[in-house]
Amino acid sequence: MDNPLEGLDSRALFDAAADAMLLVDEHGSILLANHAFHQVLGYHDLSQLIGNRVETLIPKRHRQRHRKYRKQYTERPVQRAMGNGRNLVVLNSDGQEIPAYIGLSPFQNQDRRLVLATFHFPDSALLSSKVLWESEERMRLAKSAAGLGIFDFDLINRGVLCDERIREIWGFDPEEPITYGMLTDGLHPQDLPLRNTAMQRAFSPEGDGEYQVEYRVINRKDKSEHWLSTAGKVFFSNGAPIRMVGVVRDISKQRKLEQDLRKQQSEMERLIKRQMAAQTAAAIAHEINQPLAAISAYSEVALHALSSGKTDTTQLAHALNGCFSQAQRAGNSLHELLAFLQRTDMEIVTMTFDSLWQELLVSLKHDNQHELDLRTEFAKNLPAFCANRTQILKVLLNLLFNAAEAMRDADISPATVTIRTALTKDRKFVQISIRDSGPGIPPHIAPRLFEPFFSTKPNGIGMGLKLSRAMVESMGGKLWMDEDAIDHATFHFTLPRAP
């Protein structure tokens, strides 16, 4: 029998292959394209291909990178799939991008090092290539317009796929293989717990698999900080998570705007507070100054009468009586004024610490200005108590922010604050204690802390603690500071237990 391979024309063999193939020289010039290649991609005019660089088949935006890869490949030619699993596309004669799997095989022909590229097109890609091309193009445009980055975690094989945008944000190189750990390392340490909690929730088989969280990423290369909003979905198989897909969006600009806005608002609030303090001070000054003026004059009258020797007892009595009644008047004005300032339409309700805690967490979430590392030591089965919701929240925030600011000023990080709840010994009050990890309060300042208009803060008006105490007292509780604490300031307040 004749050898079936005798006289085999390698060129005919090349053309007979079902897969599209290209033969390329070491400079990237196309030497030969097989029949399938012409057919599938529509290159009927050979001059469009032969002698040209392979980059003409690649979308413009990838060409430069491809040249680099090609050079690397020429130095270390091995048989492998091109693109390390990335979605590759090749341009057809109409300029459409057709998805393709591409295999690369080096081979030596005499002294030339050639490369054979084989193309396999998924059926769907060819059948609806136009539709797919359009939808992918639309997707790509939308993605880049929205600045979206896409990630895809294979939770079984621990495989991680990320697009260029994610690489850009995290500061990874375009070809660098990415691991889950690398992504985590890029996160701002403060946001890690938040992200992990969101992940755990998404991975919970009882949940809906939704993953939604905002966190900061520090770019590995330029150390820039990016606020990202992440939304994703976890897929389950037999009750176990197998895959997680999602998008990230850079929201740094919005964050900055929000922060600026909030800063402005708090500046406004501070001005209003200061204005109020100034008005309050003016009201007090007016109430006190008139009787003081009278007392001063009356007493000088008495002194003058005594020193001049012609003591008229009626006049003396008149003057001294004036002093007395004006001092009384001053005192009464003050009490009335304070009663007026503390007057609020308070609704006292029964509440649990848990509900207060939830509200506090919400309030803290909206606060960007204070760094707090909260620890909790909550008593079990703490009974409900009576308080005004808004006011007690204000008191708590005031104490927490005081602590955060004290620690920030002392350069203490993390700013750990411990919140403790307990029932008092007589079991009549719920006691909430806030202990910071700051430097404590200097003994010469401690006695003045509760004085109105006393402040150690450059922007403080010195009403915070005073008002907090007034609010707690108006709810039937007490607010005080641990006098004997050497370091770590601790404040306590109580609220009456609900009947």
Partner: protein
């Protein structure tokens, strides 16, 4: 300092302030009248009231600054000492520019108040002296005929007899007669004295 013909008018809405200051000033032999508002004070005083006002800046109704304006508007010869609870600098500057004697902060000391009253007393005497000399000068000048007054005005503005004659269209000789009559009637010895009398009377040259 003669306190017999000098009344201190205290205007303050606070009865205790009025009472204590009245007591203090009476102890120093001042005659004191006090008022609870600017309005009631204005009802009481007139050109014949001789003394000084101690006025609170902050009062319901007409405040101290408005009262000062009204007093100036009525051309009452009344020096004013302001009392205030706040050291209100812009107001004090305005008040001082409008001729206030002093701007005292409550509580005021006896020493400061008496010192301010003394200044007020001297200021009043000054005002009265000016008023008297104007009165006298006006008396002297009202004896002049209309023509003589015309000649007087031109003469004190520095014109020579010749120039006055040309201006008024009368003879040089007649001007000399007018001038001699003016000197006789006013008792002025020379042109300089005549000019002083005219200025005191409020003639502007």
């Amino acid at each position: 300092m003669n306190k017999n013909n000098f009344t201190v008018y205290i205007v303050d809405d606070d009865p205790a302030v009025r009472d204590s200051l009245t007591l203090m000033l009476e102890q120093d032999d001042y005659r004191v009248k006090s008022f609870e508002s600017g309005e009631s004070f204005l009802n009481e005083i007139g050109l014949g009231s001789r003394g000084c006002g101690i006025i609170d800046i902050r009062m319901p109704g007409m405040d101290g600054m408005q009262l000062q304006e009204e007093i100036l508007h009525r051309q009452l010869p009344l020096p004013i000492i302001f009392l205030t609870a706040h050291g209100d600098i812009p107001k004090s500057v305005k008040a001082m520019k409008a001729g206030a004697i002093d701007f005292l902060t409550k509580p005021v000391t006896r020493r400061d108040l008496l010192a301010a009253l003394h200044s007020a007393y001297l200021r009043l005497a000054d005002i009265e002296n000016q008023t008297t000399s104007r009165h006298e000068a006006q008396q002297q000048l009202c004896k002049l005929t209309e023509r003589e007054q015309q000649v007087l005005k031109l003469a004190i503005s520095g014109l020579s007899n010749k120039e006055i004659a040309r201006d008024l269209g009368i003879s040089h000789r007649t001007i000399e007669i007018h001038k001699s009559n003016i000197m006789k009637k006013t008792g002025a010895g020379n042109l300089l004295q005549l000019a002083r009398i005219a200025r005191n009377a409020g003639y502007s040259n």
